[in-house]
Symmetry: C2
Subunit: 454 residues, 2 copies
C-alpha cells in the first residue's frame, strides 16, 4: 500500500458532530457589538437576519454540536471528501516532504462552501423562512447556497460582486441552473447599492450590505453568510475531522497545516479540529493561513473592532481589518477579497497559534499550474495561495534535509476560473500589492470602538 | 445502510485488466478495409499513426488485456469512480425504479475520456513517440489527452471543432493549462483543413482528417483517437467492471443499462463488461444507447462501410453512418456529433443486443436540469441524453407498477458547458431534427465498398 494515493472514508465515517472551538479559544474573547449602541449584541439583535438555531450556534459554549440527519443526508452526496497523498507533486518538486491535500472540489458546487450552505438552508427551512439572500465573490458561495436552497425548497437570491460577475459568467449560469437568481452588485435595488454606484467593480462589503438590507426588510426572508461568522466556521469542521481520520489511515500526522484565507471558513474547517486536538494533547503543529498580498488582512491589517460590511449595518466584530470600506483590487481569487476575517481565526493569529503569510497572485498561479500538471486537478485560484505556501515549505524541507508532513486544504477546483488561467498564461495577471499609503488611507476610516487588549 | 448514496471501491479494487469483447461479439465480424485498395488492412497499415501495442490491442482476440502498472498508477488519481444510488432523483420523479449512476466526472478532465488517453499516452511514450496529435469536439477528449501527455512527458496538439472552440473557450484554457496547444479546425495548416475552409463550424470528421494528416507526415508524431476504435472502447471497460462490483455491494443487478453515444467509447466502457457477463450467464439485461436526434447515427444511419473521417484518409469501417462528410448542426453536446459509431457497438445494435434511442436536445437539457436539482451534479450535455432515456424508463416503470434497476452512465460534468445551459434557459436552444431530404443527401456520398450481410 506504499503507493496509495487516495484515502477514502466510507459514508459511515461521516462526522456526526461539528467541532466548536469557541469554548477552547485561548486569550480573551471579545463579543460583537451593536453598530448603533456599541454594546454587546444579544440573540434578538440578529433575529431579523438569522434563524434562532443558527444564532445559538453562533454563541454556543458546547464543544460539539450534533449534525442533523437531514444535513448529513445531503453531505453524503459528496462527503466524506477524499484526502490525497501528492506523490507526483512530491516527485515534481523533488522534496522529501510528505504532501497531502484534502480536496473539497468534489462537492457539486466545486468547493467547501456547501458544507455550511446546506446547514444554513436546513435551519432556515425549519424556521419557516421562504427565501435566503446572500452575496458572493467568486461565485463559490452563491452557487453553494443556490444548490442548498434547491435541495431544501427555498428561494435564493444572490448579490454577486461586479468584477466577479463579469469575469465568471458561468458561475452565474450555475447558480441559475440550481434555481437561484443573480444580481450584479452594486445594484439599484438597495440604498447600499445606490450609495456605492460609483464603485462599478463592487466589493464583498457592498454586496453584503445589499443582501442584509433586503433580508432585514422582508418578513419571509433571511440572510446567509458564507464565511466569517462562528456558525459558518463550525459547519466547515467536517473537513478537518475527516482529514484526521484519513491521515490516521495513512499512519501520519501533520507537522504543518496550510489553508487559504478569505473570510476564514475554509481554513477554520480544516484547521480547527486539528487545533483542538493539539490543545488537548499538547502537540505543536504549525498552522499557516495563506492570504493574497493584494488583500493582506492578517499580515498588514489592524486588530480591532470593525464592521463586517461596507455600509456599517452589521455588528462590530473584533478582527484584523483593512477597514470596512476597503475595496480590494480585482484579484482573480475573488473568494479572498474580504476586508476582514473570522474573529475566531483572528484571535488564533493574535495568540500566535496560527501564522499568516501573504502570497502574490502570480506566485499562486505558478504553483497552481505546477500542481495541475503533477496531480491533474486544476485548483481554484483561492486554493492556489495555499499551494504556494506549501511549495515554499516543501522547498525549505529539501534544503534542510527534513521530511515534514504537510497538509494542504484544497478548497475547490478552478473550472469556473479558467479566464484567470488565460490571463496568467497571457502574462496579463498583475501583482497588485497594497502600498503603504493605500493601507494608511484604508485604515483611516475605522469606526470608533473599544480597543482590543494587545 | 438502506440510505446509502455512494458506493465507493478502495484503490485495491481498481481493475487489473481491460475487458475485450471482440472475441465474444455475436454475428459476423467485418475487418476494416484499406481506403485505397479496399482490402482488409494489416497492422503495418496503421503503424504510421499508432504504436504497435495499441494496434495489437485493436485486433486482439484475447478476452482480457492486463493494464500496465504505470497506467493504473495514474488511474488511481481518480479511480475507482463512484457509483451513486439516485435516491433524491427517484423521489423527484416519484418512480419505484431503482436508479444508479456511474459518475466519470471525477476525473481531472471531468469525463471518462482520460481512461483511454492515459493508456494511449503510455503506449506511445513506450514506443519513443514525442508528440500526439488529435481532434476534439466538446473538448472532453482534447483536454483528457493534454492531461495524459503531460503526465507521461509528451507534447500534445489538438484540432478543436470550430463551433466547440467558439462555444467553449475555457476548455481550450484547460487544455493549455496542462501544456497542450489548440487549433481551431478547419485550419490552414493542413490540406484537409484548407479543403473544408467553407465549413467554418467544422466537424469531428474534418478535425480527424487534419490530425491524421499531421501525424502521418511527421516521424516523431502519432495520432490519438478518443472513441470509435476497438482499443479505445477496450480502455474504457474499467467503468463497467467497477460498476459490477459496486452494484454487488448494493445487492442489485441492472435490468437496464443506459449510456449516451457519440463515437461509442463511453457506452462501451460501461456496457461491455455487463454484456460479457450476460453472454456467459445467459441473462437478459436491456442496453439502451442514447444518441441525439440531430445526429441519429444508430437510429437512422445506414449499416455499411464508410470512412472514419471527412477526407477519406482513414480505413473504411463497418458501422452505422450518416455519411463521412455529414456535418451535423451545432449541437451543444459536442461529443455526440460524429457521423458514425464504434464498429463493435454497431455490430451489437445490428445483432439486437443494444437498442438505440434518439433524444431531442431540449428534452435532454430538461432532464439535466431536473437531475442537477435533485442530485446536485450538473451533467455534461452528452450525459443528459442518457438521463432523458432513463427518465422515460423510470416513468414507464411507474405506469407499469414495476421497480426495475436502471444503471446510467454519467459520462461527465457540465462545468465547461454552461453556455449551453444559458442558451437552454434563454429558450435559445433549438431542436435540430434531421429531415428526410437532409438524410438522403448525406447518405448519397457513401464510398463504394462491399456490403455488410444483413
Amino acid at each position: 500500500m506504499s503507493d496509495q494515493v487516495k484515502y477514502v472514508l466510507p459514508e459511515s465515517e461521516l462526522p456526526t458532530h461539528w467541532v466548536n472551538l469557541l469554548p477552547e479559544l485561548p486569550g480573551d474573547s471579545h463579543p460583537p457589538l451593536h453598530p448603533a449602541t456599541g454594546q454587546p449584541i444579544g440573540p434578538e439583535d440578529l433575529s431579523a437576519l438569522f434563524p434562532m438555531e443558527l444564532i445559538m450556534q453562533e454563541v454556543s459554549g458546547e464543544p460539539e454540536i450534533e449534525i442533523p440527519e437531514q444535513v448529513r443526508e445531503v453531505y453524503r452526496l459528496w462527503r466524506p471528501s477524499p484526502l490525497y497523498r501528492a506523490r507526483r507533486l512530491e516527485r515534481a518538486l523533488d522534496t522529501p516532504a510528505h504532501i497531502y491535500y484534502k480536496y473539497e472540489g468534489v462537492s457539486p458546487a466545486g468547493s467547501h462552501k456547501p458544507n455550511s450552505a446546506v446547514a444554513q438552508a436546513y435551519y432556515n427551512r425549519r424556521a419557516g423562512v421562504r427565501r435566503l439572500v446572500t452575496e458572493t465573490g467568486a461565485g463559490q458561495w452563491g452557487s453553494a447556497l443556490s444548490l442548498a436552497c434547491q435541495l431544501f425548497g427555498l428561494q435564493c437570491e444572490v448579490f454577486m460582486v461586479g468584477v466577479s460577475f463579469d469575469q465568471k459568467p458561468y458561475r452565474r449560469a450555475m447558480i441559475e441552473a440550481w434555481g437561484g437568481s443573480v444580481h450584479r452588485s452594486p445594484t439599484g435595488l438597495t440604498a447600499a447599492g445606490r450609495a456605492h454606484a460609483a464603485h462599478a467593480d463592487g466589493s464583498l462589503g457592498i454586496a453584503i450590505s445589499e443582501a442584509v438590507e433586503i433580508a432585514a426588510g422582508a418578513e419571509d426572508t433571511n440572510y446567509a453568510l458564507g464565511s466569517v461568522l462562528n456558525h459558518v466556521c463550525l459547519h466547515q469542521t467536517v473537513i478537518g475531522q475527516e482529514a484526521i481520520k484519513q491521515l490516521e489511515m495513512a499512519g501520519e500526522m501533520p507537522d504543518v497545516v496550510v489553508g487559504c484565507v478569505g473570510g476564514g471558513s475554509n481554513f477554520a474547517g480544516l484547521a480547527y479540529p486539528f487545533i483542538r486536538r493539539d490543545m488537548r494533547a499538547g502537540s505543536s503543529t504549525r498552522y499557516i493561513a495563506a492570504e493574497p498580498s493584494a488583500c493582506p488582512t492578517l499580515t498588514r491589517g489592524e486588530y480591532r473592532y470593525d464592521f463586517g460590511d461596507s455600509a456599517g449595518m452589521t455588528p462590530l466584530m473584533p478582527m484584523y481589518t483593512l477597514g470596512h470600506d476597503f475595496i480590494p483590487p480585482p484579484l482573480h481569487a475573488g473568494g479572498l477579497r474580504y476586508h476582514g476575517d473570522a474573529p475566531s481565526l483572528c484571535q488564533l493569529v493574535h495568540e500566535g497559534i496560527v501564522e499568516a503569510s501573504a502570497i502574490r497572485q502570480s506566485d499562486a498561479f505558478a504553483a497552481a499550474i505546477a500542481f495541475a500538471r503533477a496531480e491533474g486537478i486544476i485548483p481554484a485560484p483561492e486554493a492556489a495561495h495555499a499551494l504556494r505556501a506549501a511549495f515554499d515549505l516543501a522547498e525549505a524541507a529539501k534544503e534542510a534535509g527534513e521530511a515534514p508532513v504537510i497538509l494542504i486544504g484544497l478548497s475547490g477546483h478552478g473550472h469556473f476560473d479558467m479566464s484567470a488561467y488565460q490571463a496568467y498564461r497571457a502574462g496579463e495577471l498583475a501583482d497588485l500589492e497594497l502600498s503603504e499609503s493605500q493601507l494608511r488611507e484604508a485604515l483611516s476610516h475605522l469606526p470608533e470602538a473599544p480597543a482590543i487588549a494587545g
